[in-house]
Point group: C2
């Protein structure tokens, strides 16, 4: 079965026993989670989130610069007060440089992505520290917002805080 048909079938099962239709829009636990898009990392399972609990923002690497628009909306319009950043071991972002991907785009897509920074990194802990520092520095996230950063270990399922 094509994957989209599988999704439609799975959703039909989910909707047939759905009892969460009355949840409010603002996140109940007043938190925005920013995590990598990696397939092995399920923020809800890792953190014990239920529907309605938290905004979940995800992108390649879980990078903060790429999430600023969403974080401002989360904090300023929807009242979240904490940001939790989650990067992870064995991340694809450790395996390429901007030059590599710019070249691959030219060769395989016959297109030009030189204007895009793909935000790879070479040091996992430093990538978390950089993203915390970026959010602490921007005036678009007020100082009252708590910002914490973690590395998720895909081998053990465990979160380790980056100090």
């Amino acid at each position: 079965m094509p994957v989209v048909d599988e999704f439609i079938k799975a959703n039909s099962t989910y909707a047939s026993d759905f009892h969460k239709g009355g949840l409010p829009l603002p996140p109940a636990r007043k938190v925005a989670v920013l995590a990598c898009m990696d397939a092995r990392l399920d923020p809800a399972k890792i953190l014990g989130l239920e529907e309605g609990d938290a905004h979940v923002i995800r992108n390649a690497g879980g990078r903060a610069t790429d999430a600023l628009r969403s974080l401002v909306i989360s904090e300023l319009l929807l009242g979240t007060q904490t940001i939790v950043i989650i990067h992870h071991t064995d991340c694809g972002m450790l395996t390429f440089s901007d030059e590599d991907i710019h070249k691959k785009v030219r060769q395989e897509l016959h297109a030009d992505a030189d204007h895009i920074s793909f935000l790879p990194f070479t040091d996992l802990e430093q990538s978390v520290r950089d993203d915390i520092a970026y959010l602490k520095a921007t005036r678009l996230i007020p100082d009252s917002i708590e910002i914490r950063g973690f590395i998720y270990d895909v081998k053990t399922g465990r979160l380790n805080e980056v100090q």
Copy 2:
């Protein structure tokens, strides 16, 4: 208990019974899901995803322009072949304009975000169509990638495809 301490406790429980440490980096089902960050929407539950199945990219509104960097990495470096876009009913993005949020940033943060488009929309179905059209038009997503778009109904738990 502060929310981050609750997360650390929940993660300890998750990690204590973790048996998925051997999953490969590329998504098994070769799909990238692009969904809104909304707290009521859990892509894994809605679509029946297990750890390792799919990239999950999330931002305010589930907007494609904001996800292009991640989608290029997903397709070009990690082999996904399908993109599933999920916007949803009662979305916060229907409730404000760029002017509104630019003004609120000035008033409440004493900062300037006029250079940021926050990508709100006034027509939910059209927002899905616009994002599909954007991804079909960009040369950075090859024509071979299947792109489908859905609206998730937060009252019923059901996905409805946008044609």
